[in-house]
């Protein structure tokens, strides 16, 4: 199924490329980022991210005005770099293009090269990247930028024992959970990017303009010599895949896995770790797995009544859909605003194995909320799982929403949502089950009354 309309998007389910490109820079130590374009793009994105993470989000802009648009934005871009470097003293500055810069044909790579020649004092590494807003969704912007950063920073290094862990847009709480699991097993790793500290900072008395934390440049340099890469990006095309880049360029073995959300996906992570390192799952984590199974048993019958609408970035939509499948929830609608050929293919085996009626599942790519809403109504969905823009499904159709993914802008704590690993899955699953229960209890009396009493009366 595709869009109702040919030329109109009605209530977008995705954002634009530069938005995705900002995030990686928030996960690198001492990095700043600047958009080359008009002031609005960066302000919108800052606002969206500030609402989700509840953290100050500084993103520079070259503030292109009419003159810059007509005669080229070189001057603005260089001036912007100077100001950012002066005020923030960053180690890295990411420069991302926007629709405007791309349309007027700005060659940011050349401009940055010139800038560095003209300013020999500058010690910051400047990474230009192309992220036209019309070139794809924020999902593609994110991975393109990761790849661009690797291309610029990594260099052939001595082989070492560390693992590269390349993550998609998961919450800072999830990143910390991932680290805890790896630390429990004494595994040495580089998380790339790591915004677990920068976008979910503890309160501290002295405010820092560039928050501490993030993957260090040295770590990124050495990703080329890692023992292996584990990347959570099964739905990402090879051309955008950072893990594939490391494999192609430096021969680092790549294990491309789904986000470890749900029991099977998390099992897969531990099996992979065992394959790479020979380490088996420690008892403490086995217990967490056992508790998840216990939770699943507790809730399986309630979940069997779930007819879910799952939407968001392809990678998130995939892992949530598989979580639904292993708990008896039918993911009737699985949707993403991004363009992806992989999501549907990846889902097929699971759907075949676990559902009587696979035709009841509607997988939709490159879509908007007008389509998702219609599909949800058709499927008689009783739960939605995805980011805040789906609140529209609750408001218009009464489908309760379990908030997950990005952006969460109408609730507090998007940065604290935990959903990966056995523990995270347990917490997430409880949120889903309880939302189903709450919805059921809320409507039970009226539904029964309407269905049976009223019917009986009118016969």
């Amino acid at each position: 199924m595709t869009l109702n309309y040919k030329s109109t998007n009605e209530n977008p389910c995705n954002m634009c490329m530069p938005m995705g490109g900002i995030l990686p820079y928030k996960g690198i130590e001492g990095a700043m980022v600047m958009l080359h374009g008009s002031q609005g793009c960066s302000t919108y994105m800052r606002r969206h991210m500030a609402e989700h993470y509840n953290e100050p989000i500084d993103v520079g802009s070259s503030s292109l005005n009419e003159k810059g648009t007509v005669y080229g934005g070189e001057k603005n871009l260089k001036q912007g770099l100077i100001n950012i470097i002066m005020v923030y003293e960053p180690k890295i500055v990411g420069v991302l293009t926007t629709c405007l810069a791309e349309t007027i044909g700005e060659d940011v790579e050349r401009i940055v090269a010139d800038f560095l020649k003209e300013n020999p004092d500058v010690s910051s590494t400047i990474i230009p990247g192309s992220t036209p807003g019309y070139g794809g969704s924020h999902f593609e912007g994110y991975f393109t930028t990761l790849r661009q950063i690797l291309k610029t920073i990594t260099k052939a290094t001595q082989p070492h024992e560390k693992l590269n862990i390349i993550i998609p847009n998961i919450s800072p709480a999830d990143i910390r959970e991932l680290k805890r699991l790896l630390d429990t097993m004494d595994i040495k790793y580089t998380i790339f990017p790591d915004f677990s500290e920068t976008l979910d900072r503890p309160y501290e008395k002295t405010y820092k303009k560039v928050p501490e934390g993030g993957t260090t440049i040295k770590e990124i340099e050495q990703m080329a010599g890692a023992k292996a890469t584990i990347q959570f990006a099964t739905t990402v095309e090879d051309a955008l895949s950072p893990g594939k880049y490391l494999y192609d360029t430096y021969g680092v073995p790549l294990y491309n896995l789904p986000i470890p959300l749900g029991i099977e996906n998390t099992d897969l992570l531990f099996e992979t770790i065992q394959q790479i390192t020979n380490l088996t799952m420690p008892d403490s984590i086995k217990k967490e797995r056992g508790r998840l199974i216990d939770a699943m048993i507790d809730s399986h019958k309630y979940n069997a009544q779930g007819r879910a609408v799952v939407y968001g970035e392809p990678e998130q939509a995939f892992s949530v859909a598989t979580l639904c499948l292993e708990n008896g929830i039918t993911p009737n609608v699985i949707a993403t605003g991004s363009k992806t050929t992989k999501l549907s293919k990846l889902l097929q085996p699971g759907l075949k194995r676990k559902l009587v009626n696979q035709d009841a599942v509607n997988i939709i790519q490159e879509t908007d909320f007008s389509v998702i809403r219609a599909a949800a109504v058709e499927a008689k969905a009783n739960i939605a799982i995805g980011h805040s823009d789906g609140r529209y499904l609750t408001e218009k159709e009464g489908i309760p929403l379990v908030r997950h993914g990005f952006p969460i802008h109408d609730r507090v704590g998007g940065q604290r949502l935990l959903s990966i690993g056995y523990l995270g899955t347990t917490v997430f699953l409880d949120r889903i089950t309880n939302t189903l229960l709450e919805n059921k209890y809320l409507h039970y009396r009226t539904n029964m009354y309407q269905e049976y009493y009223k019917k009986a009366k009118t016969i």
């Binding site: 998007n9 954002m15 008009s38 919108y44 100050p56 070259s62 629709c99 300013n119």
Partner: protein
């Protein structure tokens, strides 16, 4: 062109400032010169401003039964979907975000065809009477002829399809306000009519006014409508909170335009005076003093004793109802210091007065798009030592809030986390607030919100 950076890390305090910004910052009593305003943002200065498109969108979006179609790439539509907490008494169409979702090939080959198709599809689906088509950055660059497409489709369907010239780079948010007002002017243009007809219409309507610059956030326009009705004045159209096509068409029937949000609406009021002879007056319903004064001035305009008496009665009643509550808050808040960083100058002016009403001193005032006259007023109202700044950035806000030991910041979504990270209380004065800040009830809500944050027990732990 050669630009050289001198990185001098020894002068750490000075680094918060970008040299070009120095004229945009002043301190009352310490400087002869005015703050520089209404300029382009400095590149890399981390301005908190939005763009032309955003300015146009926030002004027009509350028109409830219109299709708001963004001609451009998806992000622009995505970030501005349902951007304001504007309420509607009727249609909900305005709460959708429609976009032509331009892709690379549309940029290369032009987007006019796609735009035409999008209009066709939307007319087919929703049968609207009114549609706004907003241009975004790239539309301005690739040169799609928005006017021509809108005109063609307008004729074809016999409905109003209004182009909004809001390419992001053609100025700042204020240019977007103007683009929105220009779009509104196209709608309210009365059909070909004799001057006699206008006179007749005017003599028929009694004490009917337009309310400009209220977007009906959290029912604010309805609250003011209630006050005015009570004293015998009807609101004809609100621009643009809870407005619809039918209402807009009657806009020229009013005898007076009152303006709340000066930044966005003064231009429209001036135009309406020029074209239709409707006089205008700036008012403010933020804070008790402003509310009282505004009601009196509006009543006075009609030169009618009965009306003025009713106004005094209303004021006396409303004021006595809230006096005790406000007094209590004032005692609690006495001596606290506030910093203001909001969009428009008029809002900042109201806020300074409102803080004074509840015993709070303002130590920093800034706006994104304030105008020269407004900065003059701000400078008059401010106490000595108050920092006044235009188009500030987080770094400057941090510096001055800390230096001036502000207990509280008023601002928008982006400023909130900054205030909290600095351990400072925060008041949302943004588009999506869910409680009204206008009128007498708004004054209480404001004090309650200030108290809830300034006096929260949470600050004991920082």
């Amino acid at each position: 062109m050669k630009v050289v950076v001198k990185l001098d890390s020894t002068k750490s305090k000075k680094k918060s400032f970008i040299a070009e910004r120095s004229e945009s910052i002043s301190m009352k009593g310490h400087q002869k010169s005015q703050v520089k305003c209404d300029t382009d943002s400095v590149a890399g200065s981390m301005s908190q401003r939005a763009c032309v498109f955003c300015g146009a969108r926030v002004v027009l979006n509350p028109i409830t039964d219109a299709i708001h179609l963004v001609h451009g790439p998806i992000g622009c539509a995505s970030y501005t979907w349902d951007i304001r907490g504007s309420l509607s008494s009727g249609s909900e169409l305005y709460r959708n975000s429609f976009s032509t979702d331009m892709k690379e090939k549309d940029v290369i080959f032009g987007g006019e065809k796609k735009l035409e198709q999008a209009i066709d599809e939307l007319v087919d689906e929703y049968h609207p009477k009114l549609m706004f088509v907003y241009s975004t950055c790239i539309v301005g660059v690739i040169g799609d002829d928005l006017d021509a497409v809108c005109k063609k489709k307008s004729l074809q369907y016999g409905i109003e399809i209004i182009p909004v010239q809001s390419s992001g780079f053609i100025g700042n948010k204020a240019a977007g306000y103007r683009a929105a007002c220009d779009a509104i002017l196209k709608i309210i243009k009365p059909e070909e009519t004799t001057s006699q007809a206008i006179i007749e219409r005017k003599s028929n309507c009694k004490r009917v006014i337009n309310y400009l610059g209220d977007f009906n956030l959290a029912a604010e326009a309805w609250i003011i409508q209630g006050y005015l009705k009570e004293i015998g004045i009807d609101i004809n159209v609100t621009f643009t909170g809870d407005a619809n096509y039918e209402a807009l068409k009657k806009a020229t029937d009013a005898e007076l335009n009152i303006i709340q949000c000066a930044g966005s609406m003064t231009y429209l009021a001036k135009k309406m005076e020029e074209l239709y002879g409707i006089p205008y007056m700036h008012i403010s319903f933020l804070g008790i003093e402003d509310t009282k004064e505004s009601l009196r001035r509006i009543a006075h305009f009609f030169q009618n004793i009965e009306l003025e008496e009713k106004t005094e009665k209303l004021i006396a009643r409303e004021e006595s109802q809230i006096a005790k509550t406000l007094h209590w808050y004032k005692q609690q808040l006495q001596g606290k210091k506030a910093a203001i960083y909001v969009g428009g100058g008029f809002k900042a002016i109201s806020l300074i007065k409102q803080f004074n009403e509840i015993g709070i001193e303002v130590v920093m005032v800034g706006t994104q798009t304030g105008r020269k006259e407004e900065y003059d007023t701000i400078a008059d109202l401010a106490t000595a030592g108050t920092v006044i700044l235009d188009d500030a950035n987080p770094s400057e806000l941090e510096q001055f809030m800390t230096e001036k030991a502000a207990d509280l910041l008023v601002g928008g979504v982006k400023e909130r986390p900054l205030a909290y990270k600095l351990g400072v209380a925060f008041i949302d004065h943004n588009h999506d607030r869910k409680h009204p800040l206008s009128g007498f009830i708004g004054a209480v809500n404001f004090a309650t919100e200030v108290h809830s944050t300034v006096c929260s027990p949470v600050w004991k732990y920082v």
